[in-house]
Symmetry: C2
Amino acid sequence: MRTGDSTTVDVPQSSAVPKGKATLVTVAKQKGGWKRGVAIFDFILRLGAIVAALAAASMMGTSDETLPFFTQFFQFQASYDDLPTFQFFVIAMGIVGGYLVLSLPFSIVSIVRPHAIGPRLLLLILDTVALTLNTSAAAAAAAIVYLAHNGNSNTNWLAICQQFGDFCQKVSGAVVASFVSVVVFVFLILLSALAIRKL
Amino acid sequence: MRTGDSTTVDVPQSSAVPKGKATLVTVAKQKGGWKRGVAIFDFILRLGAIVAALAAASMMGTSDETLPFFTQFFQFQASYDDLPTFQFFVIAMGIVGGYLVLSLPFSIVSIVRPHAIGPRLLLLILDTVALTLNTSAAAAAAAIVYLAHNGNSNTNWLAICQQFGDFCQKVSGAVVASFVSVVVFVFLILLSALAIRKL
């Protein structure tokens, strides 16, 4: 909060300097501009999160691999359907992506009316819930992907990625995309918190 | 925000009613009381989260079971060390519990000075990060526990809970405790968000 070179940082300082009415009007405009900038950044972050969440859901949803050899009774195939955790991942990331699309209008309201607290508070509360859903899907899928890559000798769970390499690569990509979306959500919550406090 | 019977709800309405200085002082005190009540509730929730987080960490950390039979070369034993996800769980829940203990002084500052924004904003930001850590630990462990209970026929991962029943029960209890702590964190963030907005 110390005085810097940028015009956005030294707003609290300059409001204490008495220079007549013109300065105060400028300060008020700068305050609004700061909040509007946060709202625009919020909107851009939301677009990024939509891309990440839907990419994660679709990458996981289209991940299946059939091996090019088969026995008389059995064909070797891996799909996200085989593991309940991956099914949960697809559903959860779909919900998160849908929520993010529906939250865009509220973000636009914040840009148009930078001082309105209501939409920001609503977004903060819903973002927290969506963050929890997104994190749980990403972490659960990551635990299973780790197991698929490395296996576990103590429990006799064998690594399946030696056979299903392409499947594992797609699933890992989906997990990475969902963690990108988690990081964006954390930043969205921090931005909302900074914007709704008293100035 | 409509006028109700309770004194805490109709504060914004009554502040618009001109009844002299005495009313305004009462309103200001009521506002402070509302924020102080939120801060006290925040403190109590934090105590509950500490109990849940440390219970989860210690329950997982002490979970090992040795079966009462053994071969010449091998003794059947299960411990949280055997699975990297459970090791991550113990470390993450320990960090979350430690953070919660360290956050208590800031919560007390919020009780003593109900209108201070700084400590609440700090707690909101750190709570969001701790929520992410807590949720990822809980979800990853839940995915593995589900696998241990049910196994997965597609990947030939067998359920180990038939052999290690006590181990599985303790681990499941730890996962439940960590999800309790996740829910408490979500409420803590909502309370902080309500408290730091403009009144």
